[in-house]
Symmetry: C2
Subunit: 664 residues, 2 copies
Amino acid sequence: MSLHLRSLTITDEFWSHYRELVRTEMIPYQWNVLNDNANITIEKERNDNNIPSEKSHAIENFKIAAGLKQGNHYGWVFQDSDVYKWLEAVAYSLSIHPDAELQELADSVIDLIALAQEEDGYLNTYFSIEEPERRFKQLAESHELYCAGHFIEAAVAYYESTHNEKALHIACRLADCIDASFGKGEHQIQGYDGHEEIELALTKLYSLTKEQRYLNLSRYFLYERGTDTTFFARQQAEDSGTKPVIAGMNHRPLEYYQAHQPILEQQTAEGHAVRLVYMCTAMADVALLAGDTAMLEACRRLWKNMITKRMYITGGIGSTVDGEAFTLDYDLPNDTMYCETCASIGLIFFAFNMLKNEARSEYADVLERALYNTAIGGMALDGKHFFYVNPLEVHPENSRRDPGKSHVKFTRPEWFGCACCPPNLARLLTSLHKYIYTVQSEQKAIYTNLFITSTATLEIDNHKVQLEQTTTLPWEGHVSIITHTEQPTSFTLALRLPYWADDYSLVVNGESVVNGESIEAEVSNGFIHVDRIWQSNDKIELILPMEIKEYTAHPLVRADIGKVAIGRGPFIYCAEEVDNGEHLHLIQLTKNQNYQYEFDEQLLGGVGKINVEAQKRTITSQWEDVLYASQVSTTYDATTLRLIPYYCWANRQPGEMLVWLNQA
Amino acid sequence: MSLHLRSLTITDEFWSHYRELVRTEMIPYQWNVLNDNANITIEKERNDNNIPSEKSHAIENFKIAAGLKQGNHYGWVFQDSDVYKWLEAVAYSLSIHPDAELQELADSVIDLIALAQEEDGYLNTYFSIEEPERRFKQLAESHELYCAGHFIEAAVAYYESTHNEKALHIACRLADCIDASFGKGEHQIQGYDGHEEIELALTKLYSLTKEQRYLNLSRYFLYERGTDTTFFARQQAEDSGTKPVIAGMNHRPLEYYQAHQPILEQQTAEGHAVRLVYMCTAMADVALLAGDTAMLEACRRLWKNMITKRMYITGGIGSTVDGEAFTLDYDLPNDTMYCETCASIGLIFFAFNMLKNEARSEYADVLERALYNTAIGGMALDGKHFFYVNPLEVHPENSRRDPGKSHVKFTRPEWFGCACCPPNLARLLTSLHKYIYTVQSEQKAIYTNLFITSTATLEIDNHKVQLEQTTTLPWEGHVSIITHTEQPTSFTLALRLPYWADDYSLVVNGESVVNGESIEAEVSNGFIHVDRIWQSNDKIELILPMEIKEYTAHPLVRADIGKVAIGRGPFIYCAEEVDNGEHLHLIQLTKNQNYQYEFDEQLLGGVGKINVEAQKRTITSQWEDVLYASQVSTTYDATTLRLIPYYCWANRQPGEMLVWLNQA
């Protein structure tokens, strides 16, 4: 008995738009950036003179490392990863939309990377050009294994998409170099990179090549992490290099790197948010591939802490700019947080790998939450402007004049000095089809995580089965899946019952399904499972009520006390100044309001908007030149509060934005 | 016709306690610190490795500069000012409480300072010891004129208290050196110090010596400020020194130094809060002493902006730790602010100098607000522990684990690396008698700013008049003033009608005063003026209702929306975890509550406490492992909210603290 997913094609209107943007805008645009051909403003993500940002220079770095040009490395020590993430996005894009010219370009980049790789497989333009003697000697800051991981991910994707073996060959040589250099052997480094990434890349390389050493190495890095808490400090003390690898970075606590404790002992999601979720992504994969139940338990523990105590309602994570990090339970300030786009993308990776381990809808709920809100909120509708930081409350004057909010942008800049987020989005969107289903092969079950119009081709016991999913989501709640089979085939088709739907109805071949009747439909772990012998043109329909929800945060979230956030389906909504005037905090919802939903074709490329009657506090003459007063009479004007989905904020004129709304 | 204030003696119980603490605890304690004899923990006010804090070394620096010892300067570049502020506090203390031994000690410090002064009058141990060639070449950071100002202030106070001319002589030589070095002359420096202070010191020196050059120099510094916005940058470019005077400081914008515009053009209170109020203090004095109405207008403008848009209800100023600075109008976050003790002390200086210009109760109201809340809140009841930062909302775990709140301490440390606040408090408290009255000599009027039990001796047309003020404030609202005259004397006695009293009654010699009856009592600018021929044992009584007030902030203060702060008389109240349990934000006041006031002798050295019935939100089982939920039923438990005056928070076990309380 077996069930495998062979291919997936997205034809969904909402998502095809984004994927086309990646192909037609982001990939060419990023290529220009990587080659310093783009006439754009590269914006620093923070006010910090240590940040190199005049140009990308990323391709130039490879040419210099390859010996094709003279010069110095420029940019971040992890600048190479921009090229790798571009390459990975190209790989996925080619799998969706073949393009000989683009493939030729990517092949040439791989040729260049091959030239930049050293004899022994080592690959890193910064250290090859500038400081070869410091190789692997400053792992807290060097990002060498981080960059290697991104190349390996790209190579795996490129092989899967194009069968180009050259990139894969470079990746294996690089992985072999790392495998030789790290471990418990006499001349090996017993340590790990400051930024997790190699771990998750090695599991992908293992999954493709079945080379056990790669899985073992990933596991080694994970288990080594945090066991010897003096590792980074010792490396720094022993390093003879005089200049910092990254200026101003060496004061971070070990939690920043998740290196404060062995990972199985870590009870809470700590430190740099992207690193944490990258680590967890690898842990979940290792748990699955190595059957490591202790690792799975650790994943569940970190997941639970993060999701039930440290995640924004938009799927953002990282409560502080200082270290782009988690802080403490229930500390979720809306106007100073970080909520990096990459962190939500990493959260999606983690959620998906947990789904591969165990079909529980909570993982897919979070995946969907991060995807439909913070991830796509990280890019403008034009596909050319990007947020690094995704706030839930913005006041442009505060961003301009309060240094503590200078990282909170109110318009999406064109590019960033540290350009991790845009290419990360590109690779997520082009690989989105991978996230729709997960398969539990042994149970012969396929789980529908995301409702996206698409066609999936399965192989079940050597027979081809197609699932033709058609949905009105994300705007309306109808999902239908039609099966196409070569012969009647028995398997379980499970559909997620999302957190935002209080109810559902299931119709199979036109008949409503009620438990105990002709069709078995068992609900467990948030999925409704239909186990039957499927015929061609069987049709299963799931109807989800698309009610407008008022969400309340846990009472210990001080930032949200007395406030509600509005959601409909997968979307969290927000108010913008352009629709509501300034001083959004003066507007308050009254209880039991009647929300009006309307899809507006003309608005922001077509979005469902929500209007609701509300009241706006008036600033009476009593307050002229008065800051504090007793015996205040509070008066309100009636107003209509207009809300749009959070993901499309900051696509019109700049102004205030607010997710958590005051409630009377 | 003339009216002069000759002497003042405070006998008030509340304030005598504080003044005694300065004499018996702070002055000896600080002396030990200055001599590195104290067995104390010197706490960094921020997590910054650039801060020198192992020891004070301040007296040692003088010994080295004086040639009595070998060695290097240690500590901040402005370490000298700790000695000067100690000396100033000693001066005031000696005027209250003669102490031959202490005076001898202070004389010996002055002898030491005299030895450290250079031939030409220059005085600064850092530059004399370490970098004499950089004298006056890095004024943005060097604090040379700032330190000079503090010495001059101390010398003036010491002369007034002890008639010791040596300190005054040093001060004049120092002022002459500065006068020779700065100005529009050919070989003079056309510039000013990064930290205002010399300006206000020079007006004091002028007032004592009547040397017009000192007033002119103060005025010069003020008018020069911000006219040439390239001054600091040019000095930095021309400076041949290689090490920074203060590490990490040179990135500050000109607003930080109030050097972005000529001061008459500055419309808003910007930059480092202490600097701003020190500048304004000098401006108000120059306006008075030089009859400079444009300067007075500028003072009024900056005052109004600060008081009506940028001041906390506790009289704290400085909304951000970054630059210890103002941010923008109505931006008053309660848990990340700075609200430095010194800034509120500077605000008191400014308010008092404005009162000297014009008798308007708003200045005295703010003076009182800052004094009774943030200023004395800056020290523990034991007189040995001090806050630098005075928050309005504290959560110890957030201070521990959120880097953005690491500056917000929840217990008062013993001392600080940058020890400006404790000695600033010492000199304020020992000179407090100066703030009780202001005199408008030409109108033959005396204004009662503060209600403090005390005896004032006036000279009116060469006759002695005593005002014996007795008050039950700050806890109850009765004030009486008995006049003692040599002969019936005509003058106006004006009493402030404080902002916290909606009503008042005035009784003169046992008779209620109603306008138009036998006694004239005119209310204007927030004072009630009684103009009559006073006899010995005339008695004027002012009865102020001590109602408990619910204060609301201007609706544009987002941090306080939906919240109230409780006050009674001059005190703002707060809730502490020790009285109310954890999660103070879950408690909410219901409208029109019945507040209970009770003076508790046993509590915190004797304070008036306030209790009120309130409700505390329960965390129901619905929230187990849930972060966001719809269809939430909110339930409350009845509770009694217990409040204490803000100034005495953090004197019991550590925990949460909250000023702005949620209101249902």
